[in-house]
Amino acid sequence: MAETLPMAGATANTNLAGLTKNDYRGNPTTLCQGCGHNSISNQIVTALYEMNTVPEAVMKFSGIGCSSKSPTYFLNRTFGFNSLHGRMPSIATGALFADAHMKGIGVSGDGDSASIGMGQFKHVMRRNVNMVYIVENNGVYGLTKGQFSATAEKGLQLKKQGENPYMPVDICMEALVSNATFVARSFAGNPKQVKELLKAALAHDGIAVLDIISPCVTFNNQENAFHSYAWGKDHEEPLHEISYIAPRNEIILEREMEEGEIREVAMHDGSTVILKNLEKGYDPKDRYEALRVMEEAQRNNWLVTGLLYINTTKPTLTNIYNLVDTPLNRLTEADLRPERSMIDEVNALMF
């Protein structure tokens, strides 16, 4: 049975860090009304609030695209870097060396991570950079108005693109084979699960990938629908085209899913996604099992959600480098410039 529900509001209290939820918020969103990305931003706010993490202990990063705009919409008190298309991982990698006590939150999209940024995506996994890597995955390029992304399913029809002839990239499988130490998948319309997985990801030391299916209300839709972008475009004056936003409600599950449950969810474009929660008793420490589940999901056209894999034994990137306890960006000249006598030693090493 399919369901479509509006999003619930949030309450404001003080957490153990003495902060209100407001202290975790960002600027008002400029994404489309009903965009799943906004729901994810809200869950980031809630998760950090509930975990009593001060915003100053986090750095946020993104690449380019609708999803990569979203760090503006949470954690105003956190340093952020909206970098280049697909290049967020390298920026985060370098920045997190400056203070190994801080956590990174990277927000990317499927266009950002699965195409132009596929290389950096995979290398940030194998390096086990201490960050939560969220892919807000909608199968389509939003900012450039509706092209297929690399995660779009084969056979998907888009108005200007026709039919997608290629097999999709699966973010979670790519993360798994790249030796990511935490891999999870969720659905933006399942805020409770998103929040819980975010908390687990934030608590994980190392790279935590969260592939969150977040339907695009504007472009990945049915072209002849009354409220579709295509219809609007055909019926609006060009002057209004840029500001035209399809009024949509965010897709939210009515009821939390049970372990092992399979449920169909209607998308804005009229298609249906089959969500399947991981079984009770599933062992997320077994990478082989995770890959098997992913393969099974692919064959059945399921969207398996939950924590697919976790490995808590591998050192993070900054651990490997055996850094001093003081954050590197707090070191002074006395720590960094060798003693005067060392210059003679160096010169003696030359011929």
Partner: protein
């Protein structure tokens, strides 16, 4: 025959991968330790094993140690280059070759010495079979040493240095070398004029390559993060960081104050470095032209987002893959304007190994002060070859970390600050660093349009204000960029303007132009862009300014035309690029080809020509010899008498 003492060139032709570098470095280092000015240049192909490769050594008592285009002594070890090596010997020169190469020898104007290298090695019971080929290279060193007079003690010092004091390889190589020397003593007759005699002109100097110097300089500059990706000729810079950081920044607790990460590609290398620079680390990367191409997008981001980072570009010949192992100064305009839209890069132009060290640390000060990427343009010749240098000098100025606001600063400001506000009127705003715990410290960095508070905006007036401020910031950087180095010449009426590793060639050409052609030129080596006031004043002084550089299109010339349109008619481009290190010949000939004589000079020249016809084989005039002793500042020598003048 006239003796030519401490003034000749040696070229060794071998096969890539034949292990000759130890042998060639031994020749170079032992001559250096004899106190004789010397340089060595490895002219190698992009190949692991088998293609022809050359090592060329210039010995010059007067300190002119640019690559010499003529080969006085050639040692031919490679059948594949034998014929061209033979042709390359200067008339009156000497040709040594491995006697197992059986090819026709057609020269009667040079001394020919076959060398039974294989026999000598085979007869040496101390050489294991596996090492015969490698040690065979030492035999030619021994033969050469015997024939030109390389001091055996200095050779031993060079080998001991090379093998880091390990006795076994030192002995094995030295024995083979001695066997070669013994054989030469017993079997060869000295017919060529080339001799070495000990001097004191390298006292107090060291020998190093630019990449090592750059790495060590960066360490003294407090480098904390380096992201890099392997590329010739830049790799040894990052590898040297790995070698020296654990030595120079060793701590009692065994922890590290730095990280060097080999990235997956150049994009990630610079991305990581920018991330680290943004977050407050002294951060760098090193690459060469093709890598820089890949880094372009990030360079534009760092420029506009105002992130300090140092980018070493050890230039090789382009475009595209170009000649991967050949030197060039071809990345100048590319670097100057790197990034799409309007951008201007701060560029440092080291000219020798000592400056690679100095700019290693100074580049961080400039990057952090200006909050912008700083490009340091070295080249293959400077980066990978061994150069004589003054010892590295300890940085005498404290680190300049630029305008960084701490928690206390923000408290004082009551949190009232704006990331991109030009508070001081110098175009440089204040920044805060991640980890700053003040609730008002954070800002959001982006490559898209932003206002003074780092907020996204596409407002035209804000964009213009921001871009104009960046320009102010850029030109203000001239106030703290390294000033040019000048080599003036008495009575100079024209100027030579150049940069980078061409200095030795230009100093020699400057001398030749003076002595042989009566053209006195002042020489200025520019060390930074934006140009400092000294550059402007220099150009103002002359009607002709020859802009000398190693690229096809005269890239510095192009930039000068843009920056100094009022002087456009003065500039004369002398650009040349063949992938080989600069030689005096092309500088001299390039300038002569474009030199415009004044009416007075033309008349003088005509009357001089008449005099010359009358006294054809006249000896050099006293006047010319006196003139030469008042010459320009020398790089390493105490005095530079004119061999050319004497010859005349």
């Amino acid at each position: 025959m006239n003796r030519k003492v401490n003034d000749f060139s040696i070229t060794v032709g071998t096969k890539n991968g034949s292990g000759s570098s130890t042998a060639n470095n031994t020749i170079l280092r032992s001559i250096f330790k004899m106190g004789i000015p010397v340089s060595g240049k490895n002219l190698f192909p992009s190949n692991i094993q088998g293609l022809p490769t050359w090592y060329t050594i210039r010995v010059n008592k007067d300190g002119f140690i640019a690559r010499h285009e003529a080969n006085d002594i050639v040692i031919a070890m490679n059948p594949d280059s034998f014929a061209r090596d033979l042709v390359s010997v200067s008339p009156g020169g000497a040709f040594f070759y491995a006697d197992d190469i059986r090819q026709p020898i057609t020269r009667a104007d040079i001394t020919i010495h076959p060398m039974p290298i294989k026999t000598i090695v085979r007869n040496d019971p101390n050489v294991p079979t596996d090492f015969r080929d490698l040690v065979g290279n030492m035999v030619y060193v021994g033969i050469l040493a015997q024939m030109i007079g390389i001091d055996m003690e200095k050779i031993l010092a060079a080998l001991t240095f090379h093998f880091k004091g390990k006795q076994k390889p030192v002995d094995m190589n030295f024995n083979a070398l001695k066997a070669g020397a013994e054989w030469a003593k017993d079997n060869l007759e000295k017919k060529d004029p080339f001799h070495l005699e000990s001097m004191d002109k390298t006292d107090g100097l060291i020998m190093a390559d630019g990449n090592t110097a750059a790495a060590i300089g960066s360490i003294f500059g407090g480098v904390q993060f380096a992201g890099w990706y392997p590329i010739t000729p830049a790799s040894s810079l990052a590898e040297s960081l790995n070698d020296f950081l654990p030595v120079l920044r060793k701590r009692e607790d065994g922890k590290h104050t730095y990280a060097v990460v080999q990235a997956e590609d150049e994009l990630a290398a610079l991305g990581m470095a920018i991330g680290a620079g943004w977050a407050g680390l002294r951060s760098m990367t090193s690459t060469s032209g093709p890598g820089l191409s890949l880094m372009t997008e990030f360079a534009g981001l760092a420029y506009y987002a105002e992130v300090p980072v140092v980018i070493w570009d050890v230039q090789r010949i382009g475009p595209s893959t170009g000649l991967p192992t050949r030197t060039s100064q071809g990345d100048l305009t590319f670097t100057h304007f790197i990034g799409h839209g309007d951008s201007h890069s701060v560029i440092l132009l080291p000219g020798d190994v000592g400056e690679c060290f100095d700019f290693g640390w100074q580049s961080f000060d400039i990057a952090e002060r200006a909050q912008t990427p700083v490009f340091v343009l070295s080249d293959l010749d400077m980066g990978m070859n061994q150069w004589m240098s003054k010892p590295f000098q300890y940085p005498e100025t404290p680190m300049d970390r630029g305008k960084i606001l701490t928690e206390q600063d923000l408290e004082g400001l009551k949190g009232n600050w704006a990331r991109y506000l030009d508070k001081d009127g110098d175009g440089i705003p204040y920044r805060t660093l991640p980890g700053n715990k003040h609730p008002m410290s954070a800002y959001f960095t982006r490559g898209t349009g932003h206002d003074e508070n780092a907020r996204y905006t596409e407002e035209s007036d804000v964009y213009i204000r921001n871009m104009e401020r960046l320009k102010v910031k850029y030109y203000n950087a001239a106030n703290y960029m390294p000033k040019p180095v000048t080599h003036p010449l008495k009575g100079a009426k024209v100027g030579i303007l150049a940069y980078g590793s061409t200095e030795n060639a230009i100093l020699e050409a400057q001398h030749q132009l003076d002595i042989d052609h009566g053209i006195q030129a002042d020489f200025m080596r520019v060390r930074a862009i934006p140009f400092t006031d000294e550059v402007t004043k220099f150009i103002e002084n002359y009607d002709q300014v020859f802009v000398v550089e190693m690229n096809r299109d005269g890239q510095m010339h192009q930039i000068l035309l843009t920056e100094y349109p009022q002087f456009a008619m003065k500039f004369k481009s002398v650009a040349y690029h063949d992938g080989l290190p600069a030689a005096a010949k092309w500088v001299r000939e390039g300038i002569l080809a474009k030199y415009t004589r004044t009416e007075g000079e033309k008349q003088k020249k005509a009357s001089a020509a008449k005099t010359a016809v009358k006294a054809k084989a006249a000896k050099p005039s006293k006047k010319a010899a006196v003139k030469s002793s008042t010459k320009a500042k020398k790089p390493v020598t105490k005095s530079r008498t004119s061999a050319k003048a004497k010859k005349k």
